[in-house]
Assembly symmetry: C2
Homo-oligomer: 208 residues x 2
């Protein structure tokens, strides 16, 4: 699987095809082999269908921008969540990625605002508080905010980032919460990892 | 993993984003979740980088066409393999897909021409000889062709297709061959499937 993809006279020596394969393989989770398969699939498609894909991706370039308030991607500024009068402006949920915002919205249980960090603290990779916009978050907390929900991932990096934000916002008099940790719904205790099970035990709740 | 991706107020309610996700998820091997991940990755990229991808895919639309002779995709007509004087025009290697041509070219062991069927016979799916261009292949065999190598996959469908071509070209006086079958290089006999091992036994070769 590590053989070079191009060889003289082969299909991949066609510059336009090589270029498409190269560009597709820059996408996350798409290796050279998959990129080649996608390119050939596109060549087999009707021209109008490929045009639709090209148009759809082209629109991403100028049609969608991060919200200057929260970092959420939208066609409007501020984004439709920040612009929504119905949402509770006194709660801010801090997430690592846009995917996390989507997941939380999907629960239909949250009606506050968001703040997308775009990453986690990672001193080894040179990612400090500035790089993930923590100063901007802290400025937002100067507005009348009642609660900050730290919804970074339950990982070492996510915990460290949440901890940093907690420390930095201690003096602001805002309630700071973190998503609960424990056994996921529908899971088997038999297969739970030790750390999750230990946490689920130590934070067990009273049945009333 | 089967939850709907869009919900009111969420990121995926942004029409341009929804459109990109929808178009990407039409590609083979890319589900809605992956399409969403790719779209968000593109939104995070520099605009010039996304433009490069869009341009590269756009060029596929009009820049590359199947060769009228063999079906190989190229920017030139006939394709560079058909147009190459150095190639042996008396041998035609019949493959199912372009990927197979690429794989054979990569061996650097074959110097004849190709014929790409673009599929296999599959009466259940309404794919007959016409749909995979077998009449066109048979017309090519009327030219002075010495050998046809049937390089369809060693599967039931590939074998059936090869068999059909063999039958149809019997009267043309052309040598018809099929790629050898047996144990793949570097494999473990222990893990070989029964059919492969049985075939490798029955077609064993004399060591001289």
């Amino acid at each position: 699987m590590t053989q070079p993809l191009s060889s003289p006279g082969s299909l991949s020596a066609v510059p336009i095809i090589e270029r498409a394969v190269k560009q597709l393989s820059k996408l996350p989770g798409i290796g050279p082999r998959m990129a080649q398969r996608l390119t050939l699939a596109l060549l087999k498609r009707k021209k109008e269908e490929v045009q639709e894909l090209v148009d759809a991706l082209g629109q991403l370039i100028d049609g969608v921008n991060p919200c200057p308030e929260c970092g959420n991607y939208d066609q409007q500024t501020p984004c439709r969540i920040c612009a929504d009068d119905q949402r509770d402006r006194s709660v801010i949920c801090v997430v690592e990625q846009h995917q996390d915002l989507i997941a939380i919205e999907r629960t239909s249980q949250y009606h506050g605002l968001y703040h997308i960090l775009g990453g986690v603290l990672s001193p080894i990779d040179g990612v400090g508080p500035e790089e993930i916009g923590i100063p901007k978050l802290l400025r937002r907390l100067n507005e009348p905010v009642r609660e900050v929900i730290l919804a970074t991932n339950p990982t070492i990096e996510g915990d460290a980032t949440a901890h940093y934000i907690q420390d930095a916002s201690k003096t602001l008099g805002v309630r700071i919460t973190r998503l609960a940790r424990g056994l996921p719904s529908g899971s088997d205790i038999e297969y739970a990892d030790e750390s999750t099970l230990a946490l689920a035990l130590s934070t067990r709740s009273e049945l009333k």
